[in-house]
Symmetry: C2
Subunit: 156 residues, 2 copies
């Protein structure tokens, strides 16, 4: 018998509970020192928040509970491979390891756009479906100059 990973089993439980109720079919947990410190499930339509994927909900909750913006030493278990938004949030949060079950291809098969967004991000700006236009860089650099000179800035 294959031993089951209890953290992934919990992430999957959350995804099933969410699919059966008012959420999307995705769940995540964040683990530190072999204990679950935060959980999340997809609440996009429930909360009118397109950023409320299971992983992001769990990351936000973990940061509040641990009182930090840096989740070094934490692992993420997700019922599905993270979309590019969540993967990027994982990088920004400094999570160490990611465990996932379903893939972006599985997500595509039930009409979630992960796979499409991955392909868009790989493209040059001018070839993307959403058009991006640059303007006023000279004015905007002012904020970066202020940041560079700031002595009490908190880096991340």
């Amino acid at each position: 018998m294959i031993k089951k990973n209890p953290f992934m089993i919990r992430a999957i439980e959350l995804s099933i509970e969410s699919a059966k109720t008012k959420g999307g079919p995705f769940g995540s947990v964040i683990v530190k020192n072999n204990k679950i410190v935060a959980e999340g499930s997809n609440k996009v339509t429930m909360n009118n928040d397109p950023t409320a994927h299971g992983e992001i909900v769990a990351i936000r909750d973990a940061c509040q509970k641990l009182n930090t913006f840096n989740l070094s030493g934490c692992d993420l278990y997700s019922s599905c491979e993270p979309c590019p938004m969540c993967l990027s949030a994982i990088y920004w949060s400094r999570i160490e390891n990611v465990f996932y079950a379903n893939t972006r291809i599985d997500a595509k098969a039930i009409d979630f756009d992960d796979s499409f967004i991955y392909s868009e991000i790989n493209k040059d700006l001018e070839n993307r479906k959403i058009k991006m236009y640059q303007m006023h860089r000279d004015e905007a650099l002012e904020a970066f100059k202020i940041w560079e000179k700031k002595e009490d800035k908190i880096k991340y």
Copy 2:
């Protein structure tokens, strides 16, 4: 004299205010029907939320104000090219057009990781800095099967 875009000028103002106070040097506004409906600036360290980039703060606020998870018909003006997290959130939220000022290269020059995360997302899973491990796909597919059969699901 070049006419200035008032929406981008406001996004830049937000980035400068934020850099001068306790935020990161980034600001965004969301515009619908030629009016600003939401504003955001980077609150990562201030709020202990690694997802609180200016764009995400503005997207979440716009969704609350407009009572929807779908920002079709809205444009985003950001003082910097969105990082992959924010770009993906823009896709998920169905924003139409993106206007930006500073680039990911400018952000890299003041030690923000956007450029690095863009390069990571392009890589195969096994070649990324953060390791990703698959497990328990069979169990996880259950949530997707429930979702497929669900009659009252809200797609997005």
